[in-house]
Amino acid sequence: MSAAIQQNATAATQTMSGAEIVLRALKEQGVEVIFGYPGGAVLPLYDALFQQNAIRHILVRHEQAAVHAAEGYARSTGKVGCVLVTSGPGATNAVTGLLDALMDSIPLVCLTGQVPTHLIGNDAFQEADTTGITRPATKHNYLVKDIKKLAGVMHEAFYVARSGRPGPVVVDLPKDILIGQGPYHEAPTAPHRSYRPQREPNPEMIAQAVKLLKGAKRPIVYAGGGIVNAGPEASRLLTEFVRLTGMPCTNTLMGLGTFPASDKQFLGMLGMHGTYEANMAMHGCDVMLNIGARFDDRVTGRLNAFAPTAKKIHADIDQSSINKNVPVDVAIIGDAGLTLKALLEAWQASEQPRHTGALADWWRQIEGWRGIQCLRYQQEGSIIKPQHAIRRLYEITQEIGRETFITTEVGQHQMWAAQYFGFDKPNHWMTSGGLGTMGYGLPAAMGVQIAHPDALVIDIAGEASILMNIQEMATIAQYRLPVKVFILNNEYMGMVRQWQELLHGGRYSESYSAALPDFVKLAESFHARGVRITRPEDLDAGIREILAHPGPVIADIAVAKDENCFPMIPSGAAHNEMILGPGQEGGVKGVTDEGKVLV
């Protein structure tokens, strides 16, 4: 036996405590930061963390925030985010974050403490059936009952989290397993026994897609968050493909930034609060190429009226996303980046002629829709329009030229951020799309700032959402994170108020934000700068001051209270039944009871 092999053999059978095995596996998996909160069941892990320097622990103030912070970290870096919480309430507090990550396909590994194996099932103190509770909120989960399997499970958890359609994975760790002694194994090099998602697209399907696209007179590319997950190269390839083919491109909420917002071929976001041109083009197209999106109900509107004349091509890494809501004509299963590469090559190799004249007609039609200027607004009078506040925030960050990351909470401000802040690069926009979790933005911003200490990280927030995880201002203070919170304060749960106005006869049941804190004093009590802006003429200077401040800031921007977010496709309506703005709400009266039932 050579020396090297011998050394390997000893490394493979090295014995250490369960807690050390966990940390060693984290290190081997490239984890640099872990977001967590301690408790009895995870004390052995905290003890091991204390005795090392390779992994940095960020102490949050609520476990839900640990998960959102890890999401922000993961989505802005492309790495797997890592979380550590205790048993029982620690684990249940994390559940919202886990489901959020599942719905938005964010790779996470969440370590949860558990009571010792001999007490499992005894209603022990701080016991929860964590694998039972998190089963439908994770991509996969493990309960480790045998220390010999611990290292293997840890490596597998990371593999599962990042492979295929990424998602959160829970590893439940009984305390006796953390304390006991066991063997450490390095990550296996052999393929996984059962989970091997297909990454390479089928060339036959690529050829069919190219044939349809070349023959198209009214094509459109509809690109989603899957492209972000496939890495920045996928966004580059998307941009190359769209420019080469001359087609219009629209993004989902999760896909913003995968195609440059500043490009002429970009139609803006599509869906419920998407642009008129994007939705009309989706409705009228003859061939649709969906890459890395999932025909979500916020995107399709009424299914039986969705893109009625289109041949549909759907490329996704997750086979179960294909033909789920919308039957498609060509299904491509694979990684978005590899799919785009294959499409580009097949397109260039194909000699099939194109309908260039037809495409010019299509663009003329699109320019007509653009001419409506569906996002136009008037900033006049003495009250700040929320759209204007975001537009100016965007323009001023552009002037400053610093790398900027935006996170959001959930509500009207989130949709306005999607509409009025332009994203030219992937990984710079974090929002809770699938679950729509109020309270996501502040902890997510924290996670982004940890990963990008020198960047400008802004949470565009509503006054209601920000209170859902406001305790994280303490984490922000502790780690001196210069996060900027940009509250569009309309004194309402604006999105709820908007639906009540449009669909429930203006009966504003429980949607008024009463008894709000003084956000300036709140900021100061958390060792941050507080700024309040109420007059349009103070907006620019205020924004510049906020962005220039070296530490964390809460900016309370008083905006119009009754502004609605348009365009809007009311629930149950079709893309071409969009409401463009005030005065057109009459159209909403046509909302059927069937539509009202929808969320």
Partner: protein
């Protein structure tokens, strides 16, 4: 667009090879309940030499689109190794085992025995006042026999649920 075929319902017998580990059944059942798919029958048991692999047979129904969804959703569970729609892989055998208790006396006993014979049900327990019959077959046959036993003193029925296997050389391997 929506053609007539799309809303046509069919039954599917799906065989799934999975890692034999705690929680796997909960994962499969949770998937069905969480997504609103129906389960008509579900059976599971380890099938390999060292008991590391279990085979689940699920009988379900739905439109073609729903059945394709069910298979894709099953397939992406991490401990699932293979998913096979036996109803599509050509001819397959489906069998179920039933134990059925009939409590009766006199002429009804003779009638129960005669019918059991015709249906190839075996008597696996008998007292002066009862029989337990064992019977295998497809669902229709078991149901027909059960219906005949009802007026004769049917007391209890227990069924395993369907197991299925493809005819011919095709075999499902992990």
């Amino acid at each position: 667009m929506p053609d007539n075929n799309e809303n046509k319902l069919r039954n599917a017998t799906i065989a799934v090879l999975v890692d034999n580990e705690p929680g796997i059944l909960a994962r499969v059942v949770g998937l069905f309940s969480g997504r609103g798919y129906n389960i008509e029958s579900l059976t599971v048991a380890p099938v390999d030499e060292d008991r590391t692999i279990s085979r689940i047979t699920i009988v379900t129904g739905g439109t073609e689109m729903v059945i394709e969804q069910i298979k894709a959703q099953l397939d992406r569970l991490v401990p699932v190794r293979k998913v096979c729609d036996l109803s599509l892989e050509g001819a397959h055998l489906a069998r179920e085992l039933m134990l059925i208790k009939v409590v009766c006396t006199g002429e009804q006993r003779m009638e129960a025995l005669r019918l059991a014979d015709a249906f190839r049900a075996r008597v696996v327990d008998a007292t002066t006042a009862s029989f337990v019959f064992e019977m295998t077959g497809n669902g229709d046959k078991l149901e027909a026999f059960t219906a005949l036993m009802r007026p004769l003193g049917l007391a209890e029925v227990v069924r395993t649920g369907v197991i299925g296997i493809a005819r011919g050389t095709y075999s499902l391997k992990a």
